[in-house]
């Protein structure tokens, strides 16, 4: 039995109430984790003493997971380059892009030791030689462009939403339509172009941040390109999950759009498979440096071998490619959905392995780091940030005009 309750003119089912409460509890758990990380009042468990282990840990991997997503590129395909089959999902993608970058920046903002000083950094005390400075700058710019683009893209729908039954939705619409604007879609297209360029620069900048270092597993000129490719994979897979879940909740079907995403995801995964194989072969080749081979061995035979072979290669690449490429499975939305979930799991482990596994050979104060050990507070914070992203997406979806004109009966 599904009981319904009225909230601001919206039907809120019990399942949604459970979802909201669970999300808030998990966000609270995350907040507690972050608080503990910054204050360490109870038990500074040894591996967490950062310099003893790895300087960049789970939260940095989570940051990379959030911000390296190619939503903007897919939006640009639909909005700028006229791939009309993607138009019904543009709103979803814009929202996902904003939320992932927002939560990503929050993650890294709270991961650094002196969060309050980052504000000073933003007002001028910066080093233009530092890739990290440019990375943050481009992500902040991208976020601003995305917010403006989304506002312009939704403007006409917001005007209509001013007549909504829901008080909350009406209020949001009234506030967001205070500035008057005409031809908003055209402006959105122009800003969208700037946003996609900024997005690609920001993502490749993050790749450069890792590749400029003296660690053999990271170092190389192709890492920025690899990041852009993996952003396409991650963004497409998350987009499929978001669209399918939203359609399931609303009884819509955006089959054609999901099928287009399926092609993009399948192609990107295939390229990534080749890229991954050659990356490892070149780094482990007998003529490579000894350190380069040792760094690769960590993933092929060492402490990260299970993560690499099972999560990254099998779950993240081979099974999704099979599910997406075989027409019998690929035409079925459920299979595409499963393939996307597997891909996202693979991507998460790829980010985690790249960030932490890349530092395995790093010598910290003369100590060799054998393997990564996640601290409970880090795990709590990670769960919190992931829940916050999902919860924020849900709230925005509820309050913004996310409806699309799609036939309820559109089917394969």
């Amino acid at each position: 039995m599904t009981r319904k309750t009225k909230l601001g003119g919206e039907d809120l089912r019990w399942s949604e109430i459970v979802f909201v409460i669970t999300s808030l509890v998990l966000v609270l758990v995350g907040a507690l984790g972050i608080f503990q990380i910054h204050t360490k009042p109870i038990m500074p468990i040894q591996p967490f003493e950062v310099a003893l282990g790895m300087p960049w840990r789970l939260l940095v991997a989570l940051y990379v997971f959030f911000v390296v997503n190619g939503f903007c590129v897919i939006v640009s395909l639909g909005e700028i380059f006229g791939v009309s089959r993607l138009e019904p999902i543009i709103k979803d993608l814009l929202l996902m892009a904003i939320i992932t970058i927002l939560i990503g920046l929050t993650t890294i903002g709270l991961e650094i030791e002196q969060t309050q000083r980052a504000v000073y950094a933003l007002i001028g005390h910066v080093n233009p030689h530092s890739v990290m400075f440019w990375m943050i700058m481009f992500y902040v710019l991208e976020l601003i462009f995305l917010v403006v683009e989304t506002w312009l893209y939704l403007y006409d729908d917001l005007i209509e939403q001013r007549e909504s039954d829901s008080v909350a939705k009406r209020l949001v619409a009234i506030i967001l339509t205070i500035p008057k604007i005409e031809n908003s879609k055209e402006f959105a297209k122009a800003i969208g172009f700037i946003a996609v360029v900024t997005s690609i620069i920001a993502i490749s900048n993050l790749g450069a941040l890792f590749s400029v270092n003296y660690l053999p597993f990271w170092h190389g000129p192709f890492l920025p390109i690899y990041f852009v490719l993996s952003a396409m994979i991650s963004g497409t897979a998350l987009a499929i999950i978001g669209v399918v879940v939203a359609d399931y909740a609303r009884g819509n079907k955006r089959y054609e759009a999901v099928q287009t995403l399926r092609v993009v995801l399948g192609a990107s995964l295939s390229v990534a498979l080749i890229f991954t194989a050659w990356n490892y072969i070149i780094k482990a080749y007998p003529t490579s440096t000894l350190l380069s081979r040792e760094a690769t061995e960590v993933f092929v035979f060492g402490s990260y071998a299970f993560n690499f072979w099972f999560f990254e290669a099998t779950i993240g690449l081979i099974i999704p490619i099979t599910l997406l490429a075989v027409p019998r499975f690929g035409r079925d939305i459920r299979c595409v959905f499963v393939a996307s979930i597997l891909t996202v799991v693979g991507v998460f482990f790829f980010r985690f392995d790249l960030v932490t596994g890349g530092q395995v050979l790093k010598t910290i104060s003369g100590l060799r780091v054998p393997a990564f050990e996640a601290h409970p507070f880090e795990i709590m914070a990670t769960i919190g940030f992931l829940s916050l992203a999902v919860f924020l997406y849900y709230i925005c979806y509820k309050l913004l005009p996310m409806e699309v004109e799609v036939s309820r009966e559109e089917s394969s």
């Binding site: 003493e49 990290m132 003369g366």
Partner: protein, 206 residues
């Protein structure tokens, strides 16, 4: 700074003196300077190496059973590179060169992003467990500005560490660099370290 590996006996006085002078907790295995003890047996193609690190007030060299007969100690610290990766990567200019060429940390500016820890090829930077900012050797800048020697140099009983101005023709460091064969750690990284070693077999030192 010049370090004569042949003279280092692994007593660890330098580590303890540095920790006390610069307020680094004695018991935590983080230090601005540390001593690596190596025991090596030359085999083909790769030598067998045993490595032990001293970076607290406990000296592990007193208890360790060395596996191989060739034993030597390598004191380590920030190399104060002329092309320092930590200075290049710091997003907020918390790392800088003094006019003497020493690399320092501005602890009031450091945001604790830890990029310098990741970028340093020598593992010479760490996060101060109490201050929440990165920390590293300053050549005891507060001492040398007042005409004193760095604490580690002063504490070394065998005069294995020699500190001075490379450009001063009257300094001991100048004379050593002019007359003796010295080497630096990881010259291939292009960081141009300013800590020079005499008698170092750099094959074994990471």
């Amino acid at each position: 700074m010049v370090i004569d590996v042949n003279k280092c006996i692994g007593c660890g006085n330098c580590v303890i003196a540095c920790k006390i002078e610069n307020d680094i907790p004695l018991e935590i295995p983080l230090s601005r300077t540390w001593v690596e003890g190596y025991s090596v047996e030359e085999t083909v193609p790769k030598a067998k190496v045993q490595k032990v690190v001293m970076n607290t007030d406990k000296n592990p060299f007193l208890d360790v059973e060395w596996k191989y007969s060739k034993v030597f100690f390598v004191p380590r610290l920030c190399n104060h590179c002329a092309n320092a990766p930590c200075v290049n990567v710091c997003p907020v200019y918390a790392r800088f060169y003094t006019k003497e060429g020493i690399v320092l940390v501005d602890k009031n500016t450091c945001i604790g992003c830890k990029y310098c820890i990741v970028a340093c090829p020598y593992g010479a930077t760490f996060l101060h467990p109490e201050q929440g900012v990165t920390d590293k050797c300053t050549f005891c800048y507060h001492r040398i500005k007042n005409g004193l020697e760095p604490a580690c140099v002063l504490a070394c009983p065998t005069h294995a560490r020699i500190f001075g101005d490379v450009n001063d023709e009257n300094s001991e460091v100048y004379k050593i660099l002019k007359e003796k064969k010295v080497t630096v750690l990881k010259p291939e990284e292009g960081t141009f370290p300013r800590v020079f070693y005499i008698g170092l077999d750099s094959r074994f030192v990471e």
